[in-house]
Symmetry: D2
């Protein structure tokens, strides 16, 4: 399963159910937002430390995976309907972030003489 396979599978899924007319970017952004809301609700009362241990909580773990999956499905579908390549866009954004947030000054010692 690659990202391209996932894109293709979602196209077929929507087509087989005649859901394409509903999949405007406006509607898909709302669906993405709704799923992120459900994901947020899973973490809202947890301390940061409890959130870091969420996957070792057998009650929480399947819900976290399920909501992460839903967010992924709508993000991938939205990008496909817009014609945006998710990985290219993400990579280009990190390029810009490298300039915007310079890395810390060279750690002496670590670099062994540089």
């Amino acid at each position: 399963m690659t990202l391209d396979d996932l894109i293709q599978r979602l196209r077929e899924f929507a087509d087989a159910r005649d859901w394409e007319p509903f999949h405007t970017p406006k509607n898909l952004v709302m669906a993405l937002s709704g799923e992120v809301g459900e994901l947020t609700a899973l973490f809202q009362w947890l301390t940061p430390e409890e959130s870091a241990a969420a996957m070792r909580n057998p009650e929480l773990r399947p819900d976290v995976v399920d909501e992460i999956a839903d967010v992924t499905l709508y993000l991938v579908r939205l990008a496909d309907m817009l014609g945006v390549d998710l990985l290219d866009a993400a990579n280009a954004k990190i390029d810009r972030n490298e300039v915007r947030f310079p890395r810390k000054a060279n750690r002496e010692g670590e670099a062994g003489g540089n």
Copy 2:
């Protein structure tokens, strides 16, 4: 650039800036939610039809790509910190959705007999 490359690049980016302590799942879910909010704002006053043409709007297009990228970065980073495989989770969810939302009645009859 594959998804695995992106995960690796984000790890190095956070490590080089000592950002890991901030990257708890609770904080990353909030960051994801904030970026989805910015993406939502781009589409809020558009009609569904205008949203479908967003990428042909030269003023809107770069902002849409930029926000989609930000959402992707935080989702990929969140899944990595939780130890969730995004593609596996998404694929398993479609398996469940295939059962939950059966496809339309067989189209062969439709095509053959109408």
Copy 3:
């Protein structure tokens, strides 16, 4: 029931359940965000026109009222825990928006001679 009554009732509700330790602004912002996500989900597949008729849909109406209520409860509680006066803050923001978004040019005729 005034807004002050609602603030007071929410304080007593949280106090009677020992929920105050969970009601940090960070947690309440997440709870607010989760409820807005549920509200968003109710409207995601509707056309703008269908959304305008949502309250005449007997299946949708109670869910809309319920989610609007949840959003209100968390917003009011968040503002109370932060010490922000919601109405003052909103009013001051409209003052700023009056400057930022000037009203349309005076409508001749309407004003009868100006």
Copy 4:
């Protein structure tokens, strides 16, 4: 300034700018969601303790008040366009929550017998 005054002021504000056609519930839910995203971003990297002290941070305080105001404006406008009375809806929801989340065992015994 009461909530009714705020509702009225928002009606006049939208009317003076011919914004009513944009203020469908679908669009207003998205605008609300976008503003909650901006509010969330202010708290995303804070610890719960830092979030509780946000209003004593002179850099953060005006932004928090500003985003709370924006969320309030869109929530009030959305409820008005839907014909939902925010305070009635919130109050009725607490009535239901009183049943759903019973308060702790009577504290009198606690206080009297320990």
